[in-house]
Amino acid sequence: MEHEIAAKLVDVDKNFGLGNTFVKVLKKVNLEIHSGELTLLVGPSGCGKTTLLSVLAGILDTTDGEVNVFGTRVDKLSQAKKTSFRRKNIGFIFQQFNLLPTLTAADNVAIPLLISKVPYREALKKAKYYLEVVGLGDRVTFYPTQLSGGQQQRVAIARALVAEPKLIVCDEPTASLDGETGKIVMEMFRQTALKRDRAIVVVTHDNRIFEYGDRIAEMLDGRIVSIHENKNHK
């Protein structure tokens, strides 16, 4: 079954620095991200995966090229509109989890809703529901330091899901986890996050989780060098 195109990058360039420090990180990148699919961006360190993810999520400006996400030219938006766009459409999962250490798991999960001005009580209720979904219903009042790495990443997943975004971007979600926990988290993530109208992009160089991707885009030296479909999920 064909999936809709959620995001499309056309001839995207991204440069950093000037003079001696000038570096071209993305070189004419073209990529399509499909709804209902989990796309893996893989490649060696420094090949531009995270930069491409940042450009796609609208947290980094392009030097050249088009970034089209759900029909919106993200590269053309002002900073304020990009912020608003991210709030409404994109969920984030970070390598370091970035859970606020002074907030409980439920409060951490509620953040995207609070950013969107959802009343606290309502946000907390929904946050607790998503914590149940990721299997942490009994940990709602726990602080991040009281949770294991795998549990923290599951809280981060719940946080990414709670506002029900149409695009979720993940940066090395298993890099801070051991192999077994990484697999468990990815399994759970795929089951809970993947929907027909939602696209997921995961940056990773952890080949143990390649099996969870529907499509694997391989990058090298700032370019997409190949895109494979994972037949197991088709």
Partner: protein, 375 residues
């Protein structure tokens, strides 16, 4: 998001307590130094309050209550004839030396009251009575600084200018700037107690006729006699400003307050900066998730205002407590905290908080949300 800001703030106990204690200390110092300044300045004009006359007439060269040129005795009758003067009585006031029974000398503020009316006598007596001043050699002493006269009781004696003085009463009199004990007696006896001079009368105390304001009568006296006249309030402020201009007190206290401000800025600024630095990752994550700069600025401002208000409350409360403790024992400590000082110190604390939070605000505004993807 203010809830999140609050939890971020109080969740980091060490920094929160550093901020609160720093700002409390700054407020404490600010209110304490300001109160000492106000207390000292008000004490300069305490004799005006202690005498309590509505109008004071003096030589035109007067600079402050204790810096006067005496008047001629004939000036009294000239003043009495001015329109609107209800009554006018002489007042003698000078610093003289008392010889105590143990042979030591002590400077006192000798106040000679009109023989007949005793206008200017203390209003509150702790023992004895002011009418006894009409008895020979009698004096009434003020309770404040009385220990310097070896805590005399009624009927105790000492010498002033080789003449006997017998204590007939102890009055509740506030301390003044010079902190010398008050000794009240009659005008004529005060002249005997002090070395003779060509002009003796320090002031003429005047009351206006009913229906006339003190200010109107002051103008009449000035116009008619060529002397200076002040309402009690004007004389108080004249004295206070004299001390402000001619002593180093305002500069010294001002320097202290400036240092307090700088120290407050340093403590709060450094802590806020460290707070912003430590939370950069989280602010970056919030930005990535769609929190606008305005919301983040509001969060930081809320945090700074919150610690400002709490720090101010603790500091101002502690300063007032210290003032209250110190003002036991008959107000030995010069300490007065007017409402205005509390408002000003609140403003200063909030300014310190807001200015020091600017450092973290500009850091957060400049923060690239992409920072969250850097391992």
């Amino acid at each position: 998001m203010l809830r999140i800001a609050f939890q971020m703030l109080v969740g980091d106990r060490a920094k929160y307590l550093t901020l609160i204690s720093g700002l409390s200390f700054v407020t404490l110092l600010f209110v304490q130094q300001g109160s000492v300044f106000c207390g000292l300045m008000l004490r300069t004009a305490k004799p005006v309050e202690a005498i309590g006359a509505p109008i004071w007439v003096c030589d035109p060269t007067l600079q402050a209550i204790d810096d006067f040129k005496p008047l001629l005795d004939t000036d009294l009758t000239r003043i009495r004839s001015v329109d609107g003067v209800r009554w006018a009585v002489p007042l003698f006031m000078r610093q003289v030396q008392v010889r105590l029974n143990d042979g030591k000398f002590q400077t006192v503020r000798l106040i000679g009251l009109d023989n007949a009316s005793l206008v200017g006598r203390p209003s509150q007596m702790l023992s004895g009575n002011t009418e006894s001043l009409l008895l020979p050699d009698s004096v009434v002493i003020g309770k404040a600084e009385m220990e310097r006269l070896n805590n005399p009781k009624v009927d105790d004696t000492f010498e002033i200018n080789d003449k006997l003085a017998r204590v007939v009463g102890i009055a509740d009199v506030p301390r003044d700037f010079l902190s010398n004990p008050y000794v009240y007696t009659t005008y004529d006896r005060a002249l005997q107690y002090s070395p003779r001079q060509r002009k003796q009368m320090s002031y003429v105390l005047v009351a206006p006729q009913p229906g006339l304001s003190s200010q109107q009568v002051v103008e009449n006296i000035k116009k008619t006699t060529g002397l200076s006249a002040y309402t009690a309030d004007d004389l108080r402020w004249l004295t206070i400003w004299y001390f402000m201009r001619n002593t180093g007190i305002p500069i010294n206290i001002g320097i202290s307050l400036l240092l307090v401000f700088v120290v407050g800025m340093a403590i709060a600024g450094q802590t806020f900066y460290a707070f912003a630095l430590q939370n950069e990752r989280y602010f970056g994550a919030l930005k990535a998730m769609g929190t606008g700069n305005f919301t983040l600025v509001r969060m930081i401002m809320f945090q700074s205002l919150f610690v400002g208000v709490v720090g101010y409350g603790i500091g101002a409360g502690a300063a007032c407590f210290i003032g209250w403790m110190g003002s036991g024992g008959r107000e030995k400590l010069a300490f007065f905290t007017p409402e205005q000082l509390l408002f000003i110190s609140f403003g200063v604390t909030i300014v310190i908080c807001l200015l020091s939070s600017l450092v973290s605000i500009q850091r957060v505004i400049r923060l690239e949300p992409a920072v969250v993807f850097r391992g």
